[in-house]
């Protein structure tokens, strides 16, 4: 049981580290927000499973925290991305990419 819990803890911490690495490596704010949100949510759920295997008597609070993160973290990130798009932040596009004009966003008028 201890080895399984340690495996879950290590995988969760690795996904949290990959989320932070995505914040450093991605080219613009929309790429950063999706990399950070998805990897951090998966890492959080995995880490909470690991803590629950180490201390099985805490499962109610751990389920509450995990369910709350699973429900609210994508909502807050979506609200932030929508606010950035409506406030005029344009998505990054690779050189030679011609789909930029088809993206939704604020018009130039």
């Amino acid at each position: 049981m201890r080895a399984l819990a340690d495996t879950f803890l290590l995988v969760g911490a690795a996904f949290a580290f990959l989320a932070a690495l995505g914040l450093i490596r991605m080219p613009d704010v929309f790429n950063r927000i999706q990399a950070g949100t998805k990897a951090a949510t998966l890492g959080a759920i995995t880490f909470l499973i690991g803590v629950g295997l180490l201390h099985p008597e805490w499962w109610t609070k751990l389920v509450a925290i995990g369910g709350f993160i699973l429900l609210t973290n994508p909502v807050s990130s979506s609200a932030l991305a929508r606010a950035f798009l409506l406030a005029g932040v344009r998505p990054w596009h690779a050189p030679g990419d011609h789909v930029r004009d088809a993206l939704p966003g604020p018009t130039e008028d």
């Binding site: 080895a3 340690d6 495996t7 803890l9 290590l10 969760g12 911490a13 690795a14 949290a16 580290f17 989320a19 932070a20 690495l21 914040l23 450093i24 704010v29 950063r32 927000i33 950070g36 949100t37 951090a40 949510t41 890492g43 959080a44 880490f47 909470l48 690991g50 803590v51 180490l54 201390h55 805490w58 609070k61 751990l62 509450a64 925290i65 709350f68 993160i69 609210t72 973290n73 909502v75 807050s76 990130s77 609200a79 932030l80 929508r82 606010a83 950035f84 409506l86 406030a87 932040v89």
Partner: protein, 86 residues
């Protein structure tokens, strides 16, 4: 605390460090806000790690309240950026 748990703690610390680097050196203010949003989730999970490390379930309450307050704060900031567009 064996080697796997020490490695997990090290990876958590590195994740918070990289998030703080992006938060300080972000080119624009939206980059800093995204880094803060990711750091709140990582900090909530790290608080449950502290609960397991110190064998004290009091940190779980701290983590739950921190997660609720960070969600409310991020949605309020998003509404403030978005402006009055109804």
């Amino acid at each position: 605390m064996n080697l796997a748990e020490q490695s997990a703690a090290l990876l958590m610390g590195l994740a918070i460090f990289l998030g703080l680097i992006r938060m300080m050196a972000g080119p624009t203010n939206p980059d800093r806000l995204v880094a803060a949003d990711t750091l709140t989730v990582i900090t909530t999970v790290a608080l449950t790690g502290f609960a397991a490390l110190f064998a004290s379930p009091l940190y779980l309450d701290v983590a739950l309240i921190y997660g609720v307050l960070s969600f409310v704060g991020m949605v309020a900031l998003a509404r403030a950026i978005e402006g009055n567009r109804s």
